[in-house]
């Protein structure tokens, strides 16, 4: 059996070398398909991060009555803290609220000058684990003693959440689409490569080769091509990160337009795995009809 492995390796190497055109076609198709898939994956990661950071800004504002007793305020705070949906609770006093208000309108002194520092209510600002639970939490807090009104961004926030939902859906669709495209494109190329060698396969069978004896070198070949393709695609994406994303990032610091090298390495292994799976299955399937001699 050790001898066989030797033969299979030799055979694979010489097939790759002697059918240069087929090898080049396969490697380039694999790398282009995986490049697209990788770009969508990386882009998806960036977008997801961005969208999550937007969602993270969503807060509930629980405005307190001016008449609320400190006990009521405290009880409310610990009630909010105890809710499973809640991540964090901040208290904003009347003074802090006014400071914030002044900061917001610092460009229009006309507006702030006329406001009584005491006009703004104290409030709890509540950060949620999942912004979609805002409405439920709000309605539970609404009637509590000391609460004047609960605001949760209303329409604007609902819109934001719908928008981020759409973004996530589109991302999933994009990944499915490019993954499907990669599978079909790579399978096609493999099939054409095998089709170009259908005669050889028939001859091997007539000389007494078993299906496995014929299949193994093709599978090895597919694996090598997939690995080269995945490597090339990942290298291009890494270059894209260094020369593209990272420079953009320098230009616009406020957007989290960045991917870590770690996630590119993870992506490389994902692409490698996908490529090899398609390569192995694709060549096994494509061989089937030519092995029936």
């Amino acid at each position: 059996m050790a001898l066989r492995v030797n033969y299979f390796v030799d055979e694979t190497v010489s097939n790759l070398r002697r059918n240069v055109l087929l090898t080049l076609a396969a490697v380039s198709t694999v790398s282009i398909s995986l490049l697209l898939l990788g770009v969508v994956m990386v882009g998806g990661e960036v977008l997801t991060k961005m969208v999550s950071s937007w969602e993270g800004k969503v807060e509930l504002n629980v405005f307190l009555r001016d008449e609320a007793t400190p006990e009521e305020v405290k009880a409310l705070g610990s009630q909010a803290n105890g809710m499973p949906e809640v991540e964090k609770v901040f208290f904003e006093s009347k003074e802090q609220a006014f400071e914030e208000y002044k900061r917001m309108f610092k460009d229009s002194p006309a507006i702030t000058e006329n406001v009584d520092p005491n006009a703004l209510p104290a409030s709890y600002r509540i950060k949620l684990k999942d912004p979609n639970s805002a409405e439920a939490v709000a309605s539970r807090l609404q009637g509590q003693p000391g609460v004047d009104e609960v605001q949760f961004g209303g329409e604007a926030m609902k819109r934001l959440l719908k928008f981020t939902g759409v973004v996530r859906t589109i991302l999933v669709i994009a990944i499915i689409l490019t993954l499907g495209a990669a599978i079909l494109l790579i399978a096609n190329t493999i099939r054409l490569g095998i089709y170009a060698r259908r005669k050889e396969i028939g001859i091997m069978k007539l000389v007494g080769a078993t299906n496995w004896f014929i299949r193994v070198p093709f599978i090895f070949e597919g694996t090598v091509q997939a690995a080269l393709g995945a490597l090339l695609a990942s290298a291009l994406i890494y270059a894209g990160k260094v020369f593209g994303l990272d420079r953009m990032q320098d230009a616009i610091l406020f957007l989290p337009l960045t991917v870590s090298s770690g996630s590119i390495i993870r992506m490389f292994f994902t692409l490698l795995a996908i490529g090899i799976v398609i390569g192995v299955f694709g060549s096994s399937l494509a061989l089937r009809r030519f092995l029936e001699v």
Partner: protein
């Protein structure tokens, strides 16, 4: 060794290639299969290799009904039959050496045996200086001889040869026939489909003649023409 019982072969398109053939070839026999172009010689050989299935009848090779052979056993049948194909069927991407070695790789022979037996058999067919040539760099007759070498290299119990001298000049052709006869003497059953008058007449072996798919002659020490 090879037995056909009422074998017929109809290709799709209703071409009748063989009609109700029954014959029996003993172990270590040497048989010529003759007949005009299109009389069914290659079809006969293809069915022994299970490359084509008979439409009717039963074929026994080495005592086994090959119609009953499960698909995965077919390669093992073929390993016991060396075959010289009419159209050579060399692997275009392999050198002469690799083409011949392939028949040994397939049956898992160790490397040292391969590297010893392959050049030896290639020398027998006179192609030592073409060891590392690709098939497309060979002349027709050279390709044919590579094919003969490949068929013999694993010393199969049965050797089928479809027109093995069609591209060879008379003297090379005589050498090859000697080779096949020696192989036969060492115990191989040999069946040769041929048009070559001279070859058949000189050997004076058993001749089976097909005509339009029918077996019309089976003569123990025959010649090419009926005369």
């Amino acid at each position: 060794m090879i037995r056909l019982e009422n074998v017929s072969k109809v290709y799709k398109g209703s071409v009748v290639a063989l009609r109700d053939i029954s014959t029996d070839i003993q172990k270590e026999e040497f048989v010529f299969l003759v007949g005009s172009s299109g009389s069914g010689k290659s079809t006969f050989i293809k069915m022994l290799l299970k490359e084509e299935e008979p439409s009717e009848g039963t074929i026994y090779v080495a005592g086994k009904d090959i119609g009953q052979l499960p698909r995965w056993r077919v390669p093992y049948l073929r390993r016991n039959i060396g075959c010289v194909f009419q159209d050579f069927k060399l692997l275009a991407n392999k050198t002469v050496r690799e083409n011949v070695a392939f028949a040994l790789e397939v049956i898992g022979r160790p490397k040292n045996i391969i590297s010893q037996r392959v050049p030896a058999i290639i020398e027998l067919v006179g192609l030592t200086d073409k060891l590392n040539s690709m098939p497309h760099e060979l002349s027709g007759g050279e390709q044919q001889r590579v094919c003969i070498a490949r068929a013999m290299v694993n010393r199969p119990p049965i050797l089928l040869a479809d027109e093995p001298t069609g591209n060879l000049d008379p003297s090379t052709s005589a050498d090859i026939m000697n080779l096949l006869e020696r192989l036969n003497e060492s115990g191989t059953t040999v069946l040769i489909a041929t048009h070559d008058h001279a070859v058949v007449d000189r050997s004076r072996k058993r001749v089976i003649e097909l005509d339009g798919g029918k077996l019309v002659r089976d003569q123990v020490r025959g010649v090419y023409g009926i005369g």
